[in-house]
């Protein structure tokens, strides 16, 4: 079975289970006031349970040595129940934007965690395809070393060109403009949005200097252009892999804050409910 089909089946199964649970849950909640019971407690504790379940994904990642289900199933559950929690939140609060500072902080956290989660999920679905299409595969931690190697090669070409031609045209251009590009990853934001700013910059630099070069120097410039285009692919990897790695630095602390608010909310509700 294709991996994407498997993912779709997984989500539809979860959706089916959840819809059935929601129907049963709603029918029960509707009946609760008739028995002098408060449905907010039920919805609240279901939310609490689901939030804990969703948070367990991180624990699953630390327990790779024991067979407690494939991480792919856990992630599917994490994403699915995470989104469903928003619906449950509306049922629980009966409003989009509640009254009161604490409640608003809580609502803000719910929205931010969900939004960051959805953004991360979208990133993780789109970015791998863009990286695969780049025709280069590089391990994130090796990027600095690879960039250093590219820079070393470019500098060697520039020095060789200067030595052979006796002219410093290429060397001067390297110091004035190209060195900026080769120093570190560039065009981070354009790469994120799929823009070709890096390639455009390279073309501009080549056109700018080309007219002042001899045939031999042009051959060296072509080599530099090849390395620059190669670096452009590394920059793409750097941008996308960085975002895929570090979006969790937003999502996880927000989720932790939401959990803390939730615990405080449960304590407060139970203390003042009597």
């Amino acid at each position: 079975m294709r991996a994407e089909q498997a993912i779709s089946i997984r989500y539809f199964t979860l959706l089916g289970i959840f819809v059935a649970a929601i129907i049963a849950f709603t029918l029960h909640a509707i009946e609760m006031p008739n028995h002098l019971q408060r449905p907010e407690f039920l919805t609240g504790y279901v939310m609490f349970g689901l939030m804990l379940l969703v948070a367990l994904l991180n624990v699953r990642k630390k327990l790779s040595m024991v067979p407690i289900g494939r991480a792919a199933y856990w992630l599917a559950g994490h994403a699915f129940f995470g989104v469903m929690l928003i619906g449950l939140y509306f049922v629980h609060t009966q409003t989009i934007w509640p009254e009161g500072g604490y409640e608003r902080a809580f609502a803000m956290m719910v929205y931010l965690v969900t939004a960051s989660g959805l953004a991360g999920y979208a990133l993780q679905r789109i970015s791998p395809r863009r990286l695969a299409a780049a025709d280069l595969e590089i391990i994130y931690e090796r990027i600095p070393a690879e960039l250093a190697e590219v820079r070393r090669k470019v500098q060697a070409i520039v020095l060789e060109s200067t030595k052979e031609s006796g002219a410093d045209t290429l060397g001067r251009h390297y110091l004035e403009s190209l060195s900026w590009y080769f120093r570190r990853p560039r065009f981070f934001v354009p790469h994120l949005f799929g823009l070709q700013a890096g390639q455009h910059w390279i073309r501009f630099q080549v056109q700018t200097i080309e007219r002042y070069l001899s045939a031999a120097e042009r051959a060296q410039l072509t080599k530099i252009e090849g390395l620059a285009l190669y670096k452009d692919k590394i920059d793409l990897h750097y941008a996308l892999q960085s975002v895929m790695k570090y979006w969790l630095l937003i999502h996880v602390p927000l989720a932790a804050a939401l959990l803390a608010l939730m615990f405080w909310h449960i304590i407060a509700v139970n203390v003042y409910a009597r």
């Binding site: 990642k61 327990l63 792919a72 892999q241």
Partner: protein, 554 residues
């Protein structure tokens, strides 16, 4: 003026098997009855018998209890007993621990979970105590003398049924020529001197001497041929007598180099493929059906200036049956495709008249001819062509990553590290094609060349899952397996003691090394942790021979 470096053209025997072999040794060996009986005149001038003995063989000495060959090992040489007595273990088999294997007990849930707190910050920590009671002679610096030995030979003789192998006995030739695992364990009962003949020499002896050829072929017919034929669907309707007739008429052939991994590695480094030997050529008339006994071959059809791979064949697969079936009424049908060796291939050729007499009358029409696959669009077969070219078809558990799904989170790497004492056993990097990557993880090959030459038998197949695993206790860190692995999937690591301090050899002051590789989480519950840890289902362990992997995975 450009000056060229001058060197003699490399010759076949530039690297003799046993550099310490002297002319006196050769003279003595030529007087052995088994070698004296060989007709020297039949050998060509460029490959004289004396040259074969001197360069393709070596004298090895074993002390009482030394294990000469282990059941399940792969080997590229055969042995002729010169002096002394050996014993072959018939039944019951020797316990695995006794012959240097690992006892792969699977951990319980709690024990697996305990790795959270037992894993150390410093990786590759070993309790050195367990190395002290191993039954091992020699060390990594003395490879010729490094071997697992049996301490209590009399007890083994009492508890196990064995047979004696005396001077003049030849053994190990089928495993060496056929690239199949050794079928029995043989150990020295007393001090013994053996002539070890590497496969190249063995092939020459079989080729040029009728006596050796008869001996090897007869042994093969007796021991393995009928089993191989019986397993093929082609011969399943035959009774015992008919099968014997087929076996008697079957010819044995080998193609390619036994050391294919050497040229393959060169190809990967230089990006230039070497000429592959053609077993059967498109357009020629088939004189029999070809059955692969060991190794791999690709079925190819001419396409422009090259050869398009239509499929590949492995052990048990047949070639040429489409054309022979179509021509069974007497019409001449030439081969529609070529069969080309991928590395080393051991082939059985069953002559056409035998097929017409015994097989065709009982056979149903074969499925669609292989040539029909040439009608598929080129892009459909491109990933398979790549897998064949890169020899990934050898892998039974290759780590295939779908780069369209992989978010490069390294959860797989961390999962591997957490189940292997803090150090991962693979690198999430490797050759890519389209959106596929075969990562640098042991593929648990069908033809595990890494197992050839391990002096202690530390690298072996596990009984439970057939994975290729390394027994850390008997590994001497010589690097033979790592050097042989065509895919660079075995790594030598410097080990540390329980205090985290590096361990050094007292004589050489060099660090003690151990070979490490993916073991498919042999001792952990739940199968490979890398697969379970991937949150996006991007990582699979696949057998390239089980259908069209790329199409099924999308």
């Amino acid at each position: 003026m450009v000056t060229a470096t001058i060197m003699a053209r490399p010759q076949r025997w530039d690297a003799p098997f046993g550099p310490e072999m002297t002319d006196t040794d050769v003279e003595r060996l030529l007087t052995l009855p088994e070698i004296a009986a060989i007709e020297r005149g039949k050998f060509p001038n460029h490959t004289p018998l004396v040259g074969v003995i001197k360069n393709d063989s070596r004298l090895v000495r074993f002390e009482a209890g030394d294990i000469v060959v282990r059941e399940g090992d792969y080997g590229n040489s055969a042995f002729l007993v010169v002096t002394g007595k050996l014993r072959v273990v018939l039944a019951p088999k020797l316990p695995r621990e006794l012959i240097g294997r690992q006892s792969s007990r699977r951990k319980g849930l709690l024990e697996a979970l305990s790795q959270i707190w037992t894993n150390r910050v410093i990786p590759e920590v070993r309790d050195t105590q367990r190395y002290t009671d191993q039954k091992l002679r020699g060390s990594a610096t003395d490879l010729a003398r490094s071997q697992v030995f049996l301490q209590d030979v009399p007890a083994v003789l009492v508890d196990h049924k064995t047979a004696e192998l005396g001077p003049g006995t030849l053994f190990g030739e089928l495993a060496a020529l056929g690239r199949v695992p050794r079928t029995a364990t043989i150990f020295a009962e007393e001090g013994a001197e053996l002539l070890e003949i590497r496969w190249q020499g063995l092939r020459e002896l079989r080729k040029y001497d009728a006596g050796w050829r008869r001996k090897i072929d007869e042994r093969y017919r007796q021991n393995a041929l009928k089993v191989a034929l019986r397993e093929s669907p082609l011969f399943q309707g035959l009774n015992e007598t008919e099968l014997q007739e087929v076996a008697n008429a079957t010819l044995f052939e080998t193609y390619g180099s036994f050391d294919w991994h050497v040229s393959y590695k060169r190809m990967r480094e230089q990006g230039k493929a070497e000429q592959e030997p053609v077993i059967a050529r498109e357009g020629e008339y088939p004189d029999g059906v070809l059955m692969i006994r060991a190794g791999f071959a690709r079925v190819a059809a001419k396409m422009g200036n090259g050869q398009r791979t239509l499929t590949y064949l492995g052990a048990g697969d047949t070639f040429g049956i489409d054309e022979l079936w179509a021509g069974r009424d007497g019409t001449d049908v030439s081969l529609q495709t070529s069969l080309i060796a991928l590395g080393y291939v051991d082939v059985l050729r069953v002559p056409a008249p035998i097929l017409e007499k015994f097989v065709f009358p009982k056979m149903k029409a074969p499925p669609a001819p292989l040539i029909e696959r040439a009608g598929r669009p080129l892009t459909e077969d491109a990933p398979m062509e790549w897998a064949v070219e890169q020899r990934f078809i050898n892998g039974t558990k290759s780590m295939l990553i779908d780069l369209n799904l992989c978010v490069r989170c390294d959860d797989c790497v961390r999962a591997c590290a957490s189940t292997h004492g803090g150090n991962p056993r693979f690198i999430r990097h490797g050759p890519t094609f389209d959106h596929w990557m075969v990562a640098n993880a042991c593929m648990h090959c069908a033809d595990p060349v890494c197992m050839i030459g391990c002096p202690t038998g530390a690298i072996h197949r596990s009984i439970s899952r057939g994975a290729v695993v390394i027994n850390d206790t008997t590994c001497i860190g010589c690097g033979t397996c790592a050097n042989s692995c065509p895919y660079n999937n075995i790594r030598l690591v410097e080990i540390r003691d329980v205090g985290g301090r590096p361990i050094r050899d007292p004589d050489s002051q060099k660090p003690i090394l151990k070979a490490t590789k993916c073991d498919l989480c042999e001792t952990n519950p739940g199968g490979p942790a890398c697969v379970r840890a991937c949150p996006h289902d991007a990582l699979r362990r696949v057998d390239f021979r089980s259908g069209d992997i790329f199409r099924s995975l999308g």
